[in-house]
């Protein structure tokens, strides 16, 4: 469904992606792992067209993602940003229901609010946070509101950028289960970035490891432990020594 072919991206002199190739089949959950700053977030933003790649192709359903109707294209996506990216001028429920209050999916505010509260409940937040402003929430709560916003319009393709970072282990478990549910029950295609190996095992159908601007290893989650790839082994076991330098 989503295909990246030899995608390159540099910011000035800093090369981030140097030929990333990856395929995410429809209705599956792909988890991307890799050290901080290796360009995982940049890769997701390239697919969404928020960052223009320098070269390479990005295909969604076989069609070039950069051409065609942007609105129709983006309507199929939901994205949880690494920093939450909540609109701080709007109360929580209007953040969650943003898509449902304007544009093609517009519906009466009362109904949008109801859906927002239901989505908040799914990410483990009580209805009384609905009327707070994002600045009044803790980091982990903001993350979950961002997650609720990403899934509010029930998109076909959902990107989660570090969904469990900053959450307590129990809440992380709730979120892992939710992401798994969205893929298996709603049939969505998901791409998740995470550093949390428990999350990887809970969420993933397939895993891809980004290192040095390319996909170093990719395969089903079950094969991750005996891949024989020294980079992947070092990463999943969190060893300080190995082929990946600690100072990057």
């Amino acid at each position: 469904m989503i295909r990246l072919e030899d995608v390159h991206k540099a910011f000035g002199p800093k090369t981030v992606l140097r030929g990333m190739t990856l395929h995410v089949p429809k209705g599956t959950s792909m988890v991307i792992i890799g050290g901080s700053g290796t360009g995982k977030s940049v890769a997701l933003k390239c697919i969404l067209g928020l960052i223009a790649p320098d070269s390479g192709r990005i295909l969604v359903d076989g069609k070039d993602a950069t051409t065609g109707d942007r609105d129709a294209f983006l309507a199929r996506f939901g994205m949880l940003f690494q920093g939450g990216a909540l609109f701080d001028s709007l109360p929580v429920w209007q953040n969650v229901a943003f898509r449902l209050l304007r544009g093609a999916l517009k519906r009466p505010p009362a109904q949008a609010r109801e859906i927002a509260i239901e989505k908040l409940r799914r990410v483990g937040l009580k209805p009384d946070v609905a009327d707070l402003f994002p600045a009044e929430l803790s980091g982990g709560m903001q993350k979950r509101v961002g997650l609720a916003r990403a899934i509010a319009a029930e998109p076909e393709i959902i990107f989660f950028d570090e969904p469990t970072t900053g959450l307590d282990p129990i809440m992380a478990g709730v979120i892992n289960e939710l992401i798994r549910e969205i893929v298996t029950e709603m049939g969505a295609t998901a791409m998740t970035i995470t550093h949390d190996m428990t999350s990887v095992r809970a969420i993933a159908d397939n895993v891809a490891m980004l290192h040095d601007g390319v996909i170093q290893w990719t395969g089903p989650v079950g094969k991750m432990d005996d891949s024989g790839d020294p980079y992947l082994d070092q990463f999943i076991h969190g060893r300080a020594t190995g082929p990946i330098e600690a100072v990057r």
């Binding site: 933003k45 994205m79 940003f81 001028s89 304007r102």
Partner: protein, 261 residues
């Protein structure tokens, strides 16, 4: 030879860079204006901008105008006394406020108040990925953020200028009648008789242009902010500088257009 040419090269590059920046700002401005008439529209954001830019700017505009009008009356009286022309105070206060000081001072106050706040807000949205989030939620940042603010400024700043003109003249009137011994009725009659419709039209047109510049610069610099807190700081500073300089330059051009006969 090359040493001789290198300053020229530097000058050329700086000029090209400047022209490119002007071009980008102009394109951004035209794009924003063209979106004003194309749906989707965001009435809530527009009303919010009307309130922020128009209504909440009234106190600062009123205070600026009243002190300026008062000071203007004192200056003209003192200056006029040197050649026995004290009586021109009402006329010069009226023409000075309406043609120049009203629009320019209101424009600069709007640059300080509105441009800075738009730039800081939009830049913060940019560095915290809120602009990216808008895009992924199928919302055009220019339509959602820039159009309501620019439209609100185009509508409210001329009104603010009109209000500033009246309050400035009132400031001059108070000083002239209380301290300088002018007759109140005669002062008002002189003011009204002297002002031409063109004076008022030019004042309001200037207000509209300055308002558009102020809001556009805030949005443009905000949208093009660099990363982090430093990026927000730079964007805010740059937006206010650009708005102030462009307002003064536009004032010069518009004064030329209206009054060079």
């Amino acid at each position: 030879m090359s040493a001789l040419l290198s300053p020229l090269g530097t000058l050329g590059r700086a000029t090209l860079g400047f022209l490119a920046a002007v071009g980008r700002v102009a394109l951004y401005g035209f794009a924003t204006l063209s979106h004003i008439f194309r749906p989707p529209f965001y009435p809530r954001e527009f009303l919010h901008a009307l309130l922020q830019i128009g209504w909440l700017s009234l106190p600062v505009v009123g205070l600026t105008a009243i002190f300026t009008g008062g000071a203007l009356a004192l200056q003209i009286y003192a200056g006029g006394a040197r050649f026995n022309a004290e009586a021109v105070v009402p006329q010069i206060v009226a023409i000075g406020m309406v043609r120049e000081l009203g629009p320019v001072l209101v424009g600069l106050m709007i640059a300080a108040r509105v441009t800075s706040s738009i730039a800081a807000e939009v830049a913060t949205m940019k560095v915290t990925e809120q602009i990216d989030a808008l895009v992924t939620l199928s919302t055009h940042p220019m339509k959602y953020l820039a159009v309501p603010r620019v439209l609100a400024a185009l509508i409210t700043v001329p009104i603010l200028v009109g209000v500033g003109d009246v309050i400035g003249i009132f400031g001059g009137y108070v000083v002239a009648t209380q301290n300088l011994g002018f007759n109140p009725a005669a002062y008002l009659k002189n003011t009204v008789d002297f002002l031409e419709p063109l004076d008022i039209v030019s004042s309001l047109v200037k207000g509209c242009v300055f308002g558009g510049i102020a809001a556009l610069m805030g949005c443009y610099y905000g949208m093009n902010s660099g990363r982090g807190a430093q990026g927000v700081g730079r964007a805010t500073k740059g937006s206010v500088e650009a708005a102030a300089v462009l307002i003064l330059a536009a004032n010069f051009l518009l004064t030329g257009v209206f009054f060079s006969v």
